[in-house]
């Protein structure tokens, strides 16, 4: 193969890599739907037997449990995402201002809750949260979810501020803008897109969180994810699969809405 043909083969290789990624990402979701419409799943059957919508009917009948769990998940996700975005911005900016070893230490602190298993965080937090009266409350669970979420958004904003041109803020000040005016008229509008992305990031961290919810929520805060997990533990596979399918929908809608919003917004990446 000549050098030229090797290069011309690259685009198709890239295309195949994208297809592989798509297949790898979609496979569990497709299987999820298949299982949710099968009556049961016995070895060695690959796709289950007795197709039907029994699981979805059962799910509909359990709306009394499902809807409160959905609302709890949404509330926790929105709260965690909002706080993680709002707090992650100044923290990420402060981290980007650090130099030398302090920057390394700061980034390490932000990375620690991301790297540590949520179970370890949960075990560490549950007693202190209990003593503080936060155990079993939505506020306590939100704060617990915020620990890894804030790690993610702080690191995210550290990257954003590494390329953010502070010159625009200095220019605004030179043109007469005070600190608040600079923030509201220049900085935040320019960071609208990263803020939205950080919100989605925080929401997704909270939405998928199980160990922290179970340990800090102490069974009293029941999210959709926790409900689905209980069906899995009870061996109700089709029901768990139908519930898990529902779990996927809100994040997909959120990401779709965010993507549409980004396309419409004339936001310039600084």
């Amino acid at each position: 193969m000549t050098r030229a043909t090797r290069f011309s083969a690259l685009p198709s290789l890239r295309a195949w890599l994208v297809v592989l990624l798509a297949a790898w990402s979609l496979l569990p979701l497709v299987l999820l739907v298949v299982i949710s419409v099968s009556g049961g799943w016995r070895f060695p059957s690959l796709l289950g037997a007795d197709p039907g919508l029994d699981a979805w009917r059962s799910l509909r009948q359990s709306t009394g449990r499902l809807l409160p769990a959905l609302y709890t998940s949404l509330g926790l996700g929105v709260g965690t995402g909002g706080l993680a975005a709002v707090l992650g911005l100044p923290i990420g900016r402060a981290l980007s201002d650090l130099r030398g070893v302090w920057r390394f230490v700061g980034a390490g602190c932000a990375f620690l809750p991301v790297a540590a298993p949520p179970l370890a965080l949960g075990v560490g937090l549950q007693y202190s949260f209990l003593r503080a009266g936060l155990g079993g409350s939505a506020v306590g669970v939100t704060l617990a979810h915020l620990i890894p979420a804030l790690g993610y958004t702080s690191l995210f904003f550290l990257g954003v501020f590494a390329v953010f041109d502070r010159g625009v803020e200095a220019e605004a000040r030179r043109l007469g803008a005070g600190g608040w005016q600079t923030l509201t008229r220049v900085t935040l509008p320019l960071l609208r897109r990263p803020l939205a992305e950080a919100f989605v990031l925080g929401f997704l961290v909270s939405w998928a969180q199980v160990p922290l919810t179970l340990l800090v929520g102490q069974g009293r805060v029941r999210t959709l994810t926790v409900e689905v997990l209980s069906w899995v533990q009870a061996g109700q596979d089709p029901l768990a699969a139908a519930g898990a399918t529902l779990l996927v929908i809100p994040p997909l809608l959120l990401m779709g809405a965010a993507a549409l919003g980004f396309q419409r917004a004339q936001v310039v990446a600084p």
Binding site: D165, R174, L175, P189
Partner: protein
């Protein structure tokens, strides 16, 4: 009356002394141009005036108020940066309106003033465009409109014509001069381009070695650089060693140039008037001329040499001649260009050479009185 007064300003560059003892004033409607080599501290000086940099000593007064400790946004001056930094998320109209919005100017007046500013820079009709869709020249003009829309009494321009092609340069220069004529702020412009400084400045200040080495009208600066450093900054191509004799005549090698009636230009230092003095002799292409045929090195101020190179420039033709004094570059008439290798006689023009004594210091020099 002076609108801007800078008094004894010092701005360190990290651990280096940086700018020291900078003092000058600019009156209403005056155009003051600061020139200096790259890294001389021109932009730092503007940043210290506008408040982006904190001076270690000295004062800045605007309209009589001591603004040295005022925050950037409170100072009644605007700095137009070298690279125009338009807000990418705002339209052209909103960019220009920005200084008025932060000052809470009523919307009717705001619209009128923005449209007026855009018209002044010939950018009417671009209101809804985004900065990303503008050319370099258009972006500069919008930035200029934004800088003047609030009519600051002091307007600071940092290399506004750098990195522009000749046509755009003309366009932006004309816009600056029109705007200045329109509301007559005290204008301070920074450039390293001497030709631009001469075109725009009513007065020029030369920043050399961290100090304002000379301030004067363009012709004063160009005709009589006060120090050797200023002369070097002006790019005068010839620098030779010489001696001023007791009678005031200059001797460079074997060439003797009688003292001109107006006295020597430059700075001979503070030594005793009697006795010989070692000097550096600096002059431009007009400091020497080809002598008429028949001149010999025995004649006053003349020597002979061989043409080494002919240099064609936009403003004329220079020839480089190797003489007993060293290589001398002088201007010649385009219709009398000597061929390379030809022997010529040349003569120093006493009125166009500048002498600097070895003890004249590196700054703060003054022209030698005639």
């Amino acid at each position: 009356m002076s609108v801007l007064e800078v008094e004894g300003l010092a701005v360190p560059f990290g651990h280096e002394p940086g700018l020291r003892e900078i003092s000058f004033t600019v009156g209403r409607g005056e155009r003051f141009v600061l020139v200096g080599a790259s890294g001389a501290g021109k932009t730092s000086l503007l940043n210290a005036i506008v408040g982006s940099l904190e001076p270690s000593a000295g004062r800045v007064r605007i309209g009589g108020d001591d603004v040295t400790r005022w925050t950037v946004n409170r100072r009644p001056c605007v700095l137009l940066s070298q690279t125009p930094l338009l807000f990418p998320h705002l339209t052209v109209f909103e960019n220009v309106a920005f200084p008025l919005r932060v000052r809470r100017v009523p919307s009717g007046e705001l619209k009128e003033r923005v449209e007026e500013a855009l018209a002044a820079v010939r950018m009417s009709g671009y209101d809804e465009r985004r900065p990303a869709t503008l050319s370099g020249g258009q972006a500069r003009r919008v930035a200029l409109a934004r800088a003047v829309v609030s009519r600051p009494p002091v307007l600071l321009l940092d290399e506004p014509l750098s990195a522009l092609d000749a046509t755009l340069k003309d366009e932006v220069r004309r816009t600056i001069l029109d705007l200045h004529a329109d509301y007559r702020p005290a204008l301070v412009m920074v450039t390293h381009d001497l030709a631009e400084a001469g075109r725009i400045g009513d007065r020029i200040g030369v920043l050399v070695g961290g100090t304002l080495a000379q301030v004067g009208m363009p012709e004063e600066i160009f005709r009589g650089p006060a120090t050797l450093e200023v002369a070097r900054f002006l790019g005068l191509p010839n620098e030779l060693d010489g001696v001023v004799e007791k009678d005031g005549a200059l001797r460079v090698g074997g060439v003797c140039v009688p003292r001109p009636n107006t006295g020597w230009s430059g700075n001979l230092g503070t030594g005793p008037d009697c006795g010989r003095r070692q000097v550096r002799v600096v002059f431009g292409p007009d400091g020497a001329e080809l002598a008429a045929v028949g001149f010999t090195s025995n004649d006053g101020g003349a020597c002979t040499g061989r043409v080494e190179e002919v240099v064609h420039r936009p403003d004329g033709v220079n020839v480089r001649v190797r003489t007993e004094l060293g290589v001398v570059e002088l201007g010649v008439s385009p219709d009398r260009i000597p061929a390379v290798g030809r022997d010529v006689a040349l003569r120093l023009r006493a009125g166009s050479v500048h002498l600097y004594g070895n003890d004249a210091g590196s700054s703060g020099g003054r022209s030698v009185p005639s």
